[in-house]
């Protein structure tokens, strides 16, 4: 069995999503469901409920300390945003944060992903995207394939990091050299297995190129740019120190205010520091 086959085999054995998320998704598909029922489902897992409240109260979501109950959080942020927060927290809890290799740890990668989530959401808001609730989640999950590889191909991934160091290249190129595929492919397989929504699957598969043929171009491009900006701002660590150039093709259909990143620099740092502390610090 080749390395690739072994890794793909292990991905097939990744557990399904925890019950709380399945129950929540099912409830939200019911048009008659009440906010109180949603609140009860979230509150059934006390640690999740506590974190959801912490996140809802962070300045990133715009409610400094004003949200006291899960019902209030649902009322202020809406069910989609709350579901996405629960989902992000659930996934982070599923995977070990301990398996550090060659100076690269899951916790740094999660910090990078949170940074990408924050910047993606900010880009979504400034381009006046209507469904901005999915932007944070898309950023959080864009590198889920790397998390899988760190966890389930721990030893083989050391080779990838060695290749990055020796060749001063992007981690994606090293993955392709060593495995014959990269983290976006693995992430996509997991997204299929978990039946994640198509926009999230597109982000996982296409965030590096920033281009998709699907309907989710704005979202994919937003994550693509946010990933680059998060690397620049040193929000966590993505596995290699290089800063890739945005794909020139994205500018054909995508506009940002020229000074968007520098104008909001302080806010991005503040949002990142507070959100990372809220989500990742136990």
């Amino acid at each position: 069995m080749t390395i690739s086959e072994k890794i793909l085999n292990r991905v097939n054995n990744i557990p399904t999503l925890p019950t709380i998320f399945e129950t929540l998704t099912e409830a939200l598909n019911d048009p008659r469901v009440t906010n109180q029922k949603i609140a009860n489902i979230i509150s059934s897992d006390q640690s999740s409920a506590f974190k959801v409240l912490k996140v809802a109260n962070s300045p990133f979501f715009g409610f400094r300390g004003g949200v006291d109950t899960i019902s209030q959080a649902i009322m202020y942020l809406g069910t989609t945003e709350i579901k996405n927060i629960v989902f992000s927290l659930t996934i982070m809890k599923m995977f070990s944060k301990e398996k550090k290799i060659s100076g690269f740890s899951p916790i740094e990668l999660w910090a990078h992903s949170i940074g990408v989530g924050i910047l993606t959401r900010a880009i979504g808001r400034v381009i006046s995207e209507q469904k901005v609730e999915n932007y944070f989640l898309a950023g959080i999950l864009h590198d889920i394939g790397k998390i899988i590889l760190l966890q389930f191909a721990h030893e083989e991934y050391q080779e990838v990091l060695k290749y990055v160091e020796e060749n001063n290249c992007l981690i994606m190129k090293a993955e392709q050299e060593i495995f014959g595929f990269d983290h976006s492919r693995i992430g996509y397989l997991l997204a299929e297995k978990w039946r994640l929504p198509q926009p999230i699957k597109d982000v996982i598969l296409y965030h590096s190129s920033g281009i998709t043929n699907e309907d989710n171009q704005k979202l994919v491009t937003s994550v693509h740019l946010a990933d680059i900006a998060a690397r620049i701002l040193k929000f966590g660590y993505a596995g290699d120190p290089l800063i890739p150039q945005p794909n020139p093709k994205i500018w054909e259909n995508f506009n940002l205010p020229n000074n968007f990143f520098s104008s909001n620099y302080e806010k991005f740092l503040e949002d990142f520091n507070q959100t990372v502390n809220t989500i990742l610090v136990e």
């Binding site: 006046s128 209507q130 040193k234 150039q245 968007f260």
Partner: protein
């Protein structure tokens, strides 16, 4: 179309969808302006909680000259193997210059 937005969630570059008034009904800002740092300070000073933000149109912000120094560009080339091709990419270089200086990581790879 506009959306009510808390001032903690405002970003520079967003467009106001309606005039902002203080408690005495005096207009602090007319509608349609692009939010700048000074407006955020003004809203905080007057205790404004929420404002209306335009949704559906992309803001074409005014151009701002960037002052990325040549020496800094040379340092940045260790991390960037490309040159900025438009104003947004130049802005990315600007935040890199600022962040790398703050963290003092010019000569460090990670």
């Amino acid at each position: 179309m506009t959306k009510t937005t808390h001032i903690d969630s405002l970003l520079i570059g967003m467009q106001l969808g309606a005039p902002v008034k203080n408690k005495f009904n005096q207009v602090l800002c007319s509608g349609n302006i692009i939010i700048e740092e000074k407006h955020l300070k003004l809203f905080k000073t007057w205790g404004i909680q929420n404002v209306e933000i335009v949704e559906g149109d992309v803001n074409e912000d005014g151009k701002e000259n960037k002052s990325v120094l040549n020496e800094d560009l040379k340092q940045l080339s260790k991390y960037f193997n490309w040159e900025p091709a438009n104003d947004v990419e130049l802005d990315l270089f600007e935040i890199a210059r600022r962040r790398f200086s703050e963290l003092n990581i010019w000569d460090e790879k990670k």
